[in-house]
């Protein structure tokens, strides 16, 4: 085996918490190596050590046979190791070329000498020569920004590139473009460590894998000799009975209807019905208008035209339709963007859960009944199994999966019967996902009607009763989930036709 990167016996503890215990990682030259593990398994700590952000307590690292012990990110980069974070680190106001050469500008007496040629070359090497190096980064799509960031590490001459959840916010076509770029890098002999929660994608792109669990490296080997089921079993330490649990639920009468929601170009004349106890999935590419549709139904954005009917009452959409109205009639929205829109992450868990139900906890003078609030909030927090130390800790102290449960707890507490869930499992670990699927199933069993927008096809097929696909603002007819398959969904999502 042509070993390129070797981390051996890496230990790291933070005060009392042992983050890494004797972790081994062996990566072959010019391969894509998947690093798999649940949130908190130690992946980020390990990668921070590799990229120079942290120093290990013990253990040794070698690159290409030579000992490697970086004294900081700068040294790691000089040694050819660079990391691409999940949250992109580009300066939106600067151009592509300026971002790519940031920190490694060539200059004469402080005066910048542009490196347009080299920047364009690096992009061309990734197969994206079409990106103009003189455009400002904020004018690029997220997928293009990601490529710029990868190109930046190429420009630095990186031999090892660590990618942390690179596809979590990418549309499918951008993911395909990214994988093509990764393949080109691999052919050029660049070694890639790939962290992702999307096991199907890992299977597609990685040569080898290493699984971390509770700070230990559990197993590693070539990708083709394992299966998703085996990987999941290693991740959680026991075989997972069901990835997509289904709570039996009965589908009742129509409780909600949307008629002629129109706001071109995002949403084109869209109508559908929703039954009590039904989980309706909406699939589609990023930018197909799914989020936009939910926001207009809920009243976050104004639609040009359209109406919703809820238990025989009809409400016109548009300027006069506000989120407050929606909540009042028992409809709740969970935002896809939990950090910026869904939650006030610096505020206590309790406040975040009770935000939309404060009228319930106040008397007519507007005084809060804190005791009642605390009781009910704690109850609902336990019901969704949020793992917290203290209910008045800020939400930011929780892991991603638990933050998402806080958002879900809010929706539960305000007692809504129509739930609009936008990407509720994005970026959270497998176990939390299963818990959230369970909760959604339970809610449906209690008669709630649920719209689930998701870019993760397996979960749509796993838990939905019916499915519609969106393409450029148009929606396919709603059909029972059994009448769809992955191919027909993708065909609709990419062409708008059956």
């Amino acid at each position: 085996m042509d070993l390129f990167l070797h981390m051996e016996g890496i230990c790291k503890r933070f005060d009392a918490v042992i983050a890494l215990r004797n972790v081994d990682l062996q990566v072959r030259a010019g391969t894509v190596h998947a690093l798999i593990g649940e949130n908190g398994a130690g992946k980020s700590t390990l990668m921070k050590i590799l990229s120079g952000g942290l120093k290990p307590d013990s253990g040794a690292m070698q690159i290409n046979g030579a000992p490697y012990a970086p004294d900081g990110p700068k040294q790691a980069r000089a040694a050819g190791v660079s990391m691409i974070y999940q949250e992109l680190t580009l300066a939106p106001h600067l151009t592509v070329e300026e971002n790519m050469t940031l920190g490694s500008e060539r200059h004469r007496c402080g005066i910048v000498r542009h490196q347009w040629g080299r920047a364009a070359e690096a992009l061309a090497m990734l197969g994206h020569a079409a990106i103009d190096v003189r455009t400002k980064v904020r004018e690029l799509s997220i997928g293009q920004q990601q490529l710029v960031e990868i190109a930046r590490s190429l420009l630095l001459g990186s031999r090892v590139i660590i990618m942390d959840e690179p596809t979590s916010s990418l549309a499918r076509e951008d993911t395909i473009a990214l994988f093509a770029a990764i393949n080109r890098l691999r052919q050029k002999g660049v070694t890639i460590i790939y962290i992702s929660h999307f096991l199907e994608e890992i299977q597609q792109i990685a040569n080898d894998y290493t699984i971390l669990r509770d700070g230990e490296s559990v197993v590693s080997g070539p990708m083709r000799e394992t299966s998703i089921e085996k990987i999941v079993a290693h991740m959680v330490g026991r075989p997972l009975e069901q990835m997509f649990p289904r709570t039996p639920h009965r589908i009742g009468d129509v409780v909600f209807a949307a008629r002629g929601i129109d706001d071109p170009p995002q949403v084109h004349d869209l109508s559908f019905e929703l039954h009590a106890g039904e989980i309706l999935g909406i699939a589609g590419l990023v930018g197909a208008g799914r989020t936009e549709t939910l926001r207009r139904i809920f009243g976050l954005d104004d639609a040009r035209a359209g109406a919703i009917t809820l238990r025989d009452k009809t409400f016109l959409l548009g300027r006069r339709h506000h989120p407050g109205d929606s909540l009042a009639i028992g409809m709740s929205l969970m935002s896809e963007n939990r950090k910026e829109e869904g939650l006030a992450i610096d505020l206590p868990i309790r406040n975040n859960i009770s935000f939309s139900s404060l009228p319930k906890f106040s008397d007519r003078w507007g005084r809060l009944k804190l005791g009642k609030e605390m009781r009910e909030v704690t109850q609902v927090a336990d019901r969704v199994a949020i793992k917290y130390a203290n209910i008045i800790d800020p939400v930011v102290a929780l892991s991603g999966g638990n933050q998402q449960k806080v958002a879900l707890a809010r929706v539960l507490l305000d007692g809504s019967r129509i739930l609009l869930l936008d990407e509720p499992t994005r970026g959270i670990d497998v176990l939390s996902k299963v818990e959230i699927y369970n909760l959604i199933g339970e809610l449906a069993a209690q008669g709630c009607a649920i719209i689930l927008v998701s870019s993760y096809l397996p979960e749509l097929f796993g838990i939905c009763d019916a499915l519609a696909v969106m393409y450029r603002g148009h929606m396919s007819p709603v059909q029972p989930i059994s009448e769809w398959d992955e191919k027909s969904v993708m065909r609709w999502a990419t062409t708008g036709k059956v």
């Binding site: 980069r77 940031l102 400002k136």
Partner: protein, 320 residues
């Protein structure tokens, strides 16, 4: 392609605004408004806010703010007047030395603001709000809470609307402002430092990740701001001919307004030196024109306030 053209024309907005305001006063104000002398007066009146705005441009692009500039200007006038009285001001070296020392003090205070902001992680609004009080206090203390009369020196000619020699056309202070503007435009566009200033305001995390010394550059930005405030203070002294510890109260707000009217964004990453100077010029035209028409100062306040809000509102629409 069109986008890039738009970037190039980013100062077009403030420029059109300037022409608009100018045209209004040509229509409203007496003919003396467009006389050569009055135009020269307007440009001279731009100098103090303009030079202060150049320093503020760095700070605002980097995502910061400096509220201490008005106080620094007052402190500089007091320092110069004090030094001149104490030393007798009998040689040109001494006079310019006094100005230089005052600028250095102002630069040092800017450095302190930057140091505290960068090292202790206190928001610059608070640090410079404190520094505003401290500098004002020191100025009053040095001046015994009264104006300091200074001997007449060559410094006072810096802001003469009709300069000696006459072929200069504009006051030396105006030429200084133009020269400084050219330098700042160059530094922001063509130097590594200038690029780092933009990154600080655009995405500090990215800057850190790329191995840029974020703290050092923050400190540098505030130090520069202090230096420009010092130079603006020298111009203020030239104008006043005395040291006045109560001078330039609230001037930092005019300076911030000039940067914002000129396209600067208080959330960082945007702004231009030329825009800031145009912003300063616009406010000077407005004040001058209003005075000629006989519009009372309180109406001027209302007008300038509306322009600040209007400029930012238009900018927001543009970005949508």
């Amino acid at each position: 392609m069109i986008k890039r053209l738009q970037d190039k024309l980013n100062v077009l907005g403030p420029f059109l605004g300037l022409i608009f305001v100018f045209a209004i006063f040509i229509a409203l104000a007496p003919a003396s408004f467009v006389s050569g002398y009055n135009l020269k007066t307007i440009i001279t009146q731009t100098v103090i806010v303009g030079i202060g705005a150049l320093g503020m441009t760095f700070i605002i692009i980097s995502g910061g703010i400096d509220l201490s500039v008005g106080s620094l200007i007052a402190l500089v006038t007091v320092l110069i007047a004090k030094t001149l009285t104490l030393t007798g001001a009998d040689s040109a070296t001494l006079v310019w030395g006094a100005a230089l020392v005052a600028i250095l003090v102002s630069t040092f205070i800017g450095f302190l603001s930057g140091l505290i902001t960068a090292l202790w992680g206190i928001v610059p609004f608070i640090v410079t709000l404190g520094m505003m009080q401290i500098a004002r206090g020191v100025a009053k203390w040095l001046a015994n809470e009264q104006t300091v009369v200074a001997p007449v020196t060559g410094l006072n000619t810096m802001m003469n609307v009709d300069p000696e020699p006459a072929w200069l056309i504009f006051a030396p202070g105006v030429w200084l402002m133009i020269g400084l503007t050219a330098i700042v435009i160059f530094v922001l566009k063509y130097t590594v430092f200038g690029r780092y200033v933009f990154v600080l305001g655009s995405n500090e995390q990215a800057a850190r990740l790329c191995g840029i010394e974020v703290r050092l550059h923050r400190i540098l930005v505030y130090t520069l701001g202090g230096a420009f405030a010092g130079i603006a203070g020298v111009m203020q002294f030239a104008n006043l001919t005395i040291g006045d510890p109560t001078a330039a109260v609230g001037l930092e707000l005019d300076i911030i307004a000039a940067v914002v009217i000129g396209g600067g964004s208080l959330s960082g990453g945007e702004g231009s030196a030329l825009g800031s100077i145009l912003g300063a010029l616009m406010m000077a035209i407005l004040r001058n024109g209003c005075n000629l028409v006989g519009i009372p100062t309180y109406v001027q306040n209302i007008l300038i306030g509306s322009i600040i809000i209007g400029a930012v509102a238009i900018d927001r629409l543009k970005h949508k």
